[in-house]
Homo-oligomer: 244 residues x 2
């Protein structure tokens, strides 16, 4: 399984992906699912992947190949993020058609992809790309997308996240969303890849890998458990009509 | 969809079920999914149901019919909760075999059931009964079961719940688990049915129905959002290596 989450907020992008892949619980590996591309000062593109690893690796390799051999269209020839999403969607659709042309089990090979970034002179965008190649974009009403194992980490996002919150608040909120997911589903696992992009900065952030021993993540995970336990204690006692 | 949660703790049982059923988003109804049986001073049995409504209603009706017409075995002839779970499991399996004997779509008619209670002289028990008629029991290590839409409400249970916590703390924790689920999935809906049973009390609690206007539930839901927002603010700021 996988959990990827991407936020497109007023001030920038917050992107986090886990790295665990599994073919059964006895076959667990670490693979990067957050990929970055770009030209400093001109464009930043991030791609997060969930689903069949052969499929999503093929998509990333095709996109990288097009860049290496200057095949157009490619990620650096696209005029805006919409064209980037179109290219990613078409690549995903083509890869899936190649793989599944001889099989009925299309679902097993499927994948989904988040595409985020900004090209100079254009709006910063976040797209959720489906296996059919089509996609939707994040808005101020719905400023985030999740792919993979999204449910455990959704309540904190639904309660705390809003479009105009500062990026450091949003980053903490998303890290807590991951912590909740890690605790409830062993198929989502550390290390995490986290990345923050400031709007109009046009840099390619290196991002941070968060491992088992990461002191900051360990600290907020522990403090969050304490917050929840204390918060529950501070709720008013149930009224008497609960006890009849 | 449905969300039912049942806790078997040192001091007693906490059971909550939602009441929303849906055949598509344009066909939503209210049906009770928390059913109680018993003989004051002698036995208390609660059954929570998820899945196909025709299937689960049939199971409850068969169990009730056996009581009405004194067909044995029935819920009041069972010697302990294990025999109760066996009876519920066999009834569910038989109903499913009847319904699906002429169809391939077994999944669409399936259901799952939580059975909790205590019979005088015996341990209080909680069982998770599968469509195949078999079942598992809650333990001190894993003191709770969920059926239906369980994921959104699981993180708070995983963090805060433990076997020896007081029932009022456990009730608040479970109500928050429901509040998180209600916010993230419209197919789980108010009113909720909540019930607390004290070990060795052998009463049949009436329980409480929690509707849209319930002042206590509204209050803790609001306070919990505030707790989470404040808790996020109080987390230490992300370290500098997140911003590269």
């Amino acid at each position: 399984m996988t959990y990827c989450c991407a936020l497109r907020l007023e001030q920038g992008l917050v992107l986090i992906s886990d790295t665990r892949t599994n073919a059964g619980v006895d076959h667990i590996s670490v693979f990067r699912k957050l990929h970055t591309f770009g030209v400093v000062g001109e464009r930043f593109i991030a791609i997060q992947t969930a689903g069949n690893l052969a499929t999503t690796q093929a998509v990333i390799s095709h996109l990288q190949n097009a860049l290496n051999f200057n095949h157009e269209p490619n990620l650096y020839s696209a005029n805006n993020m919409f064209e980037v999403a179109e290219l990613v969607g078409k690549t995903l659709k083509t890869v899936l058609e190649d793989i599944t042309s001889n099989t009925q089990e299309q679902m097993n090979y499927s994948g989904s992809i988040l595409v985020a970034g900004q090209i100079k002179g254009e709006e910063m965008q976040l797209y959720n790309v489906y296996p059919q190649g089509n996609f939707i974009s994040a808005t101020t009403d719905t400023p985030y997308f999740q792919i993979g194992e999204s449910k455990y980490g959704k309540p904190i996002l639904d309660r705390a996240l809003h479009y105009d919150m500062p990026l450091d608040d949003a980053l903490r909120c998303t890290l807590i969303s991951f912590d909740s997911t890690l605790r409830s589903n062993v198929s989502v696992g550390l290390p995490l890849d986290a990345l923050v992009y400031y709007k109009d900065s046009f840099i390619i952030p290196k991002g941070k890998r968060i491992g088992e021993e990461d002191p900051y993540f360990t600290q907020i995970s522990k403090q969050w458990s304490e917050t929840l336990r204390r918060g529950l204690q501070e709720l008013p006692k149930p009224t008497e009509d609960y006890w009849v």
